[in-house]
Symmetry: C2
Subunit: 542 residues, 2 copies
């Protein structure tokens, strides 16, 4: 059977655009001879729709969209994702459903069984789990239609769940599996996903066609990379990552492909670029501004933003103070020259001094301290936001994950911005990304990569004055944040006890600051934000 | 049977303090002749512990605390709440459990069946639902031990759930019900709670002892008000709201009480005061600073903060500009005089002008606009944060719910602050609170309550220049936010179609701004924050 994979960049709540894209893809698939065209999970409304799902009007728009789409399936079947109402009084009001459309009508509705409710996922907040299992019959074929997580409990080996949907369908002897997914990017996710698809094909001895959503929804970057695997689990087709695609396969003619996948660092790079691009596009903006400090974080954000938005659309503002080293300006100028992007220089000294004058009656002759350091950062934040407000730029935040973790940043200062591009990228990973970018030519000036990191808010300040070396800090943070290892486990792994205590305390004491941070592009399995929910006033290790 | 209700202010993750409080209450209850002492839900670790629950070390601290507490139950039984590990591989790793302790040991562990996963609640993120039902036998009595939500599906009439835990226990003919709760305040919650308790007592013909957590955990204010109801559902005892209490009843001697409850407005007032008080206490701070504008919102925050922290601990900073009306300073001075609290005056004009000078090369002669308005708000934010950083104050945010809803506020300006005291209180409710506060004496100067609201960021500015009148705005917002009515329903209710479209668009377009807002004390059934999760880039009605 000829099946088209329609990997589309869906926009949450943008029904007109999603519908138009889906209908256009049905037309293309039909013109190319496909018998079925498969879309991603909740493709009609976008994933994650979050609490929009609690509005009856939103569900009505989903329903009317499905009917409009169905009208375009006279000669080709389409499988789209949309919520379905639960007709029974008991349980949640909705199902997360796949609609099998054909002959202009809804032929069958398949409900999702396994509802991820962890990390960034809140599906049990909205959806009732399915308990009835039936294949779809179409043109002499029996099709096992599954929704995303439904294939992630192969033979009940996933401790999270007690049902294996495909085991339930096994007695019907389905001919192949279709899966509608909205599986967000994280740097290891693609390997996990491929393994799970292969394990399913091997267990049931049938092929699978898996379509993933592509495009970013604020923090979550959906990487596409839709897959077809044969009955032995060989990958026979993989759609491109991070862009829309429509391709056709024939389940009767599957040939093992030479499956080449971009490297991990390249995928992180591409995820960040797409994250920026879609944040702007979906909010209807085209221009970014950022503060270029001469450090590695803002250099990397500038480079990524130029890739996402075009060099003419990213304004760098250099905001030197009298604590700034001479190279902070020189390195920044060299970078914008390499990229060909515009810049402004705005000195912060006069504004900073004016604050000190204004505050003199209160501050009197108290020594220079954190308050004065923060004023400088907030002057920068205010100047950048002024540029944003005056000229319609979105301010990009340049905080990295190591800083965000330990609270090494000024709230309302360098923590300003609409989107935190690097908030899920540790400092050590930032250097790796820069080396990747410089692999052929020196785009990011070498001196930016070799000098010691500094906030330059007091004379000769270095990050290492306040923080452990990033090499060791990032290792502790990774174990605590991504791996959820506690203090006893960390010490058992060989980390110094005092260091562990100090780092964990810094992380826990700064929940209040991260609470007000910009949304962070998620590239790891555990990013700050929706996927990590911590009490602000909790006193565990704090 | 003599049962003590121990309504304690538990601090999330503060095991040492929670344990000490619980052990002290056991001692007091025993000294007063109680046979059982009942605590609130997850009383050992605090509710909500959120993702702390994902740390094995955190669970170990819960377990060792339970054992330490058990050692104090030689002559009295204690029922405490703590997570319990799920020994089965399938399903979530934990149960939300009640531990029945006696004779120095854990006698029985009862698991929670109904796991709220909506609004601010994420229980299915962590816990496996219970499927086994058994009463506790103690001194010839059969006790039905339930955890919070377990009593909220009386006879299966709650559409969210399919199991009624007490129906499952009915055949054992329990003598009375114990319930451990962590039920956060919202202005109608106490009525709902009382009704549910009564309905349970009446359905099963037995008394119930219900202990609620008291105290605030950042956004969530637990109001206490623990209840004992007799077999007919009469309230025989109600512990005080918003403070710790320990009282004893005898299940064999229950007499209907004269149940007088504070008014709704008084409860909102008390919830806000406790919310401030506990935020400071649990973070280890004692002093607050806020910007006093002469408007009603900051006046109310000042009053509430003085109630919570004491008049000597709340510094008002008046931050006039040349757009400020003369009465903005006069009214503020009258208020601090009434309250006897300290104040400073810091003029923002010089800082504001310095920004305009610094930005002249970029802004050139472009007309005064939003950018310049926002600079003023951000100068105020920076000055207030400077005071906070220099002297160890926490900045209180004064944004109200109406403004937060429509995005009428400056991010990093008047949206600064560690805690948004009024972010869940509509503008119209703010006037009601002020009238309540002024019911005997004029504390908040009358002129603050009668003048037209204004941000005073440009000449003669009024809120009504940009927003519908608050009377009508708040009604639309309430229907959209609390009642989740969509545009069609709102028009059908009689609201003007253009107004509805405009207001809903404003709400949806400002998710990006609220994402970075301070945590908001929740007093309604639907507050901005954890309980309302909206896509930032979603285009539904936006």
């Amino acid at each position: 059977m000829k099946i088209a994979l329609a990997q589309l960049n869906i926009h949450v709540g943008n029904f007109e655009q999603n519908k138009a894209k889906i209908i256009a893809a049905i037309g293309q698939a039909e013109a190319q001879g496909a018998e079925i065209v498969l879309f991603s999970e909740l493709s009609v409304c976008g994933y994650p729709s979050r609490d929009f799902l609690e509005f009856d009007h939103y569900i009505q728009l989903c329903e009317s969209s499905v009917l409009e789409i169905a009208a375009h399936t006279k000669n080709i079947a389409a499988v789209v994702g949309a919520p379905a109402r639960n007709p029974v009084k008991e349980g949640k009001d909705l199902y997360n459903a796949a609609y099998f459309l054909y002959d202009g009508k809804i032929q069958q509705v398949i409900h999702k069984t396994l509802l991820p409710t962890y990390d960034v996922f809140d599906e049990y907040r909205y959806f009732e789990p399915n308990k009835e299992f039936k294949t779809v019959q179409f043109k002499e074929q029996k099709i096992a239609v599954t929704v995303c997580e439904d294939i992630w409990n192969v033979g009940n080996d996933n401790p999270l769940y007690t049902v294996c949907p495909l085991d339930e369908l096994r007695s019907e002897q389905p001919d192949f599996i279709l899966n509608l997914s909205a599986s967000p990017f994280s740097y290891k996710q693609h390997e996990e996903r491929t393994k799970v698809i292969q394990a399913n094909c091997q267990r049931y001895g049938i092929p699978m066609v898996y379509v993933n959503q592509v495009g970013a929804q604020t923090e979550l970057v959906f990487d596409g990379g839709s897959i077809v695997a044969d009955a032995q689990g060989n990958v026979v087709k993989r759609l491109s990552f991070f862009e829309e695609a429509l391709e056709i396969i024939d389940t009767k003619d599957l040939v093992k492909a030479n499956d080449v996948v971009p490297s991990e660092i390249e995928r992180i790079h591409d995820a960040l670029v797409l994250g920026i691009k879609d944040y702007f596009a979906k909010l209807g903006f085209s221009k970014a501004v950022l503060g270029l400090s001469g450090g590695v974080d803002s250099a990397l954000v500038l480079y990524l933003a130029v890739q996402a938005l075009g060099k003419g659309n990213v304004l760098s503002v250099l905001l030197p103070s009298h604590f700034s080293s001479s190279h902070s300006v020189e390195d920044s100028l060299a970078l914008v020259k390499n990229l060909g992007s515009p810049h402004e220089v705005i000195e912060i000294e006069d504004c900073f001094q004016q604050y000190l004058t204004t505050l003199k009656p209160q501050f009197k002759d108290l020594p220079f301290g954190i308050a004065e350091e923060n004023i400088q950062a907030r002057v920068r934040g205010t100047l950048l936001m002024a540029m944003s407000n005056k000229f319609g730029y979105i301010l990009l935040n340049t905080t990295n994950k190591s800083e965000a973790a330990v609270g090494y940043g000024t709230l309302y200062g360098d923590m300003c911005g609409g989107l935190a591009v690097l908030g899920d990228v540790y400092k050590t990973q930032i250097y790796d990304l820069c080396k990747f970018i410089n692999r052929n030519t020196e785009i990011i000036p070498e001196h930016i990569l070799t000098k010691a990191p500094s906030a330059e808010l007091r004379p000769n300040q270095k990050d290492s004055d306040s923080l452990p070396d990033y090499d060791i800090l990032d290792k502790v943070l990774f174990q605590y944040i991504e791996q959820r290892k506690g203090p006893v486990e960390l010490v058992a792994m060989g980390f110094d006890e005092a260091l562990v205590k100090r780092v964990l305390r810094m992380v826990n004491m700064n929940e209040w600051k991260r609470f007000q941070a910009a949304p962070i592009l998620r590239v790891s399995p555990k990013a700050f934000g929706m996927g990590r929910r911590m009490p602000i006033e909790g006193r565990y290790l704090g």
